[in-house]
Amino acid sequence: MPEKKYVRLGFVPLTDSLPLVAARELGYFADEGLEVDLQRETSWATLRDRVLVGQLDGAQMLAPMLLSASLGLCGIRKQMVSAWSLGLNGNAITVSPSLYRGLAALAEENTPLGSVRALKVVIESRRRNSQPPLVLAIVFPFSCHAYLLRYWLAVGGIDPDKDVKIVVLPPSQMVDHLRLGHIDGFCVGEPWNSVAVLTGVGHCIVSGYDIWQNAPEKVLGMSQDWVVQHPQTMSGLLRALYRAGKFVDENLSEAVTMLTDGHYIDLPPELLTVSLSGRLAGGLTGAPFPAHHFHVFSRYQANFPWRSHAEFLLGQMQRWGQLKGDNLSPMVAQCYRTDLYRSAMRGITSLPVDDVKQEGLHADNWEAPGQPDAVSMGPDLFVDGNIFVP
């Protein structure tokens, strides 16, 4: 029996809210004896604050935001916990038509490296002509969007803090600001890249997958206090999310309409299915991104809270001066609760044996040690061929 029948979870309307929505709409939460209310939030900061003070039981969170709240890097410090990643991938970088034309003209090759090298040429030319720096938007300072964008810029020899101006905007306002010329590009989650492309406001030049294949993205986050008090409720939520993740992975294009039918996202369903069905025009030639560049909700151990993901993200915070100090391993273990994942999933699916994995080693599908059976994993290369050893 769950300790708490009525559970309030926060979400920000995005395509990757789908597992939470599906678990509710398909009755998987109800099967666990849970009545889950999904509360739509307009900002990540407010979503986080509501979880911190217990106004929400948990929420769909940006993985780095969960870490930054646990470290007290913005506002109050409170130990947050995730035992569940909600999915992999889902982000992309979109630029204005004029910037796109410049990149397409200057790029020596149609690759993520080619486009960022062209971007560097544009930036240098603007500097010589005393033009203001390019403005690129992300959704939150502590987000995978921020780190993917910065990673890609740095690979091209661009200093994200000096050579461009990075600003923060709500996802739903990105396209408008790009159209109005307030920004020159953005890194955001779906469906907002598709919306920009299909309305002619922008060109999607690089997917998140281009920068880091099967990168972590959102997690289910709770305060540690809440998890301690509600172990059965927590397990029930995870079991329901496991079923939901599997269902949506296998029925992606159909399942995604749950978001629009249920008015979780107020957009036409066609805008949500484009990137999921391999029809989103991208890169410098407009060749569509393959569907696997976008959401993975279950396969490749997408839901396992890999501690190497947390370590990588903390490393990015250090790299960009958001976090000082080291010996962060104890806090990684407190935030990413592989033990809670395993206790909820034992007997339901095979469990990874390790808590960490090296990133950047695999160009193809591979197998990781698991119990009782090995678990299948996806490619995990970085754009620069780097290898991350946790």
């Binding site: 307009t42 990540w44 604050d49 106004q55 913005c74 506002g75 923060v168 905007l169 739903s172």
Partner: protein
Amino acid sequence: MQQPEQQVPRVMLVDDQPARAAILERALTDHGYLVVARLPSAAGLLAQVSQLNPDVIIVDMDSPDRDTLENMALLQRDLPRPVVMFAGSEDEEIMARAIHAGVSAYIVDGLQPARVKAIVNVAITRFREYQALRDELEKTRGQLADRRVIEKAKGLLMARKQLNEEQAYQQLRRMAMDRGQRLVEVSRNLLAFADLLEG
């Protein structure tokens, strides 16, 4: 003589509900603070912050601009530097109260915490009062609507069953008690049923 650090704290309000912002502005002014701007959204906020130099920014919790502010709070190069309030764990209680009232706040480094809390407390009180006022208004509206439904059902019974007003009311009450429903629900069902028969 006034010393620089004793200057009246300057407050900026970001709230898309003008009525609430106006109430808060008056309250802050009455408490001796200076409200330098009242903005419906954070569009152009950075320029406003540089120009008007507020010590505290009070923001509606539901504002989509909060993440933009959060980032400003972290950036050292965007002067002046608003920093997120409630940095210590002893502030958790006031933060909880603020969030429940729908208030979030950003302060510029250097303002004394006690003064910030006093400002935030004014905001919490006014946001709460405003919410209570709205709840009351909605309740009153709801009650008026309920009463109209009951009156209509009563009128229907009076016409159909040749009852006087008191008898019709008693009959409705009996039906409500028998079914364990509210008077307004019974009335609504009765009207719907009558509609159906006449439909």
